[in-house]
Symmetry: C2
Subunit: 231 residues, 2 copies
């Protein structure tokens, strides 16, 4: 706790997102007063699909994966969420429930902001609202890609899509592959774990990727894109 409390005030937060930059000091202070900060350990569920959503969550520091849980007990991974990203934005106006689950893939500090407070700021600050809407749109695009991948491609194309996405995430500051199991990758591609393992080996033998344990490097991104394109 002591270690957390240092960075507990929003306006002192070094991890402030582009969204929060749109807020005035008083708005930021208002948010600060209506939030709680929590530490989630690797593997812990942060929010659960279907649960009542009274807060908007903000990743103050960490690495989180979002996923959908199907009625037949499978998971489809949606995104890797990083420091300074929001969770559960669409619950603000929607059903009041989380539409997907999230889990910490490494120890993560999460700010929980009361939804009503968040909404208040959103209504009063058009700039902030615009930024949020922009976020929605980008997000939608990624969902379309997912639908195309799952709906119109077979194994090779689907794994290529997953690797392209994950590799792009991996290239930024923090490496993510060390935190992902084969099962995680499989759930990004919408494949069984075994098929994923087999295909990864195939890609490796074709010098498309390099594998050292969990670490995966893309050697031939163009070919990977071509495989994605062909489906």
């Amino acid at each position: 706790m002591g270690n957390l409390s240092e960075s507990t005030k929003c306006h002192e937060c070094k991890k402030s997102s582009k969204y929060f930059k749109r807020l005035s000091p008083s708005e930021l202070e208002f948010i600060n007063q209506n939030k709680t900060q929590l530490l989630y350990r690797k593997g812990e569920t942060i929010c659960k699909q279907g649960a009542f959503a009274s807060d908007v969550l903000y990743i103050s520091d960490g690495l989180v994966s979002s996923y959908l849980e199907s009625s037949n007990n499978r998971h489809i991974n949606l995104k890797i969420l990083k420091t300074s990203e929001f969770i559960g934005l669409s619950s603000i106006y929607g059903d009041n429930i989380y539409n997907y689950s999230t889990a910490a893939i490494k120890d993560s500090t999460i700010c929980m902001i009361k939804k009503e407070s968040f909404k208040k700021v959103l209504t009063s600050n058009g700039d902030f609202a615009s930024e949020i809407i922009k976020g929605y749109c980008e997000n939608e695009n990624q969902l379309f890609n997912k639908i195309l991948s799952l709906g119109s491609k077979q194994m090779h194309g689907r794994l290529a899509d997953a690797l392209i996405y994950l590799y792009n995430q991996n290239m930024q500051e923090e490496k993510i592959f060390p935190y992902l199991s084969r099962k995680d990758i499989a759930e990004f591609a919408g494949l069984s774990t075994e098929s994923t393992v087999r295909l990864l080996t195939e890609f490796k033998n074709d010098n498309i990727i390099d594998i050292r344990g969990k670490e995966i490097k893309v050697l031939n991104p163009d070919l990977l894109k071509e495989i994605s394109r062909r489906g």
Copy 2:
């Protein structure tokens, strides 16, 4: 044209959506001045995935299907859009291009509203903006369902999902099945046309649905939901 011009003014439009109800007369008049009305024939493409999006489209009267086109030449159907729904809202803040294609499934009157004008009203009228954001959220939920269906279910579950969606659409004022080919249904379910036909027959033999040519009736919605649930 003569037939169209009668209902060309926004404030006289009988097909005004819940969104437009949020606008003041002057705002409505502003939109009116910055729009064009066009008639699309059945089968015509209304907007094309990837094309530059300078307008927000509004279905003044008609029936439209939205779909994604994959790089390997397949289509995945997303939604049936009806009178008083928007097309291309997410291009307002996003990439400036349409992220999906739409085609008229029957003759449809479409209003094309200059994006910049739409944006102007959106920025100045928070109520209107709220309504639009709410629309985004509902939409996102449907995309999650699609991802779950395509990513975690096999044929029976996927067709059940498609039929449940289409049947719900069908129940409203206008019947939609007469406008849909087996191929269309297949593209909603993410299946081949032949598999779709075979499964439809199977569902019919199991008294889950009734088929008379294009007309499809759901006889046992609970069983259909159960099939969807089990995947």
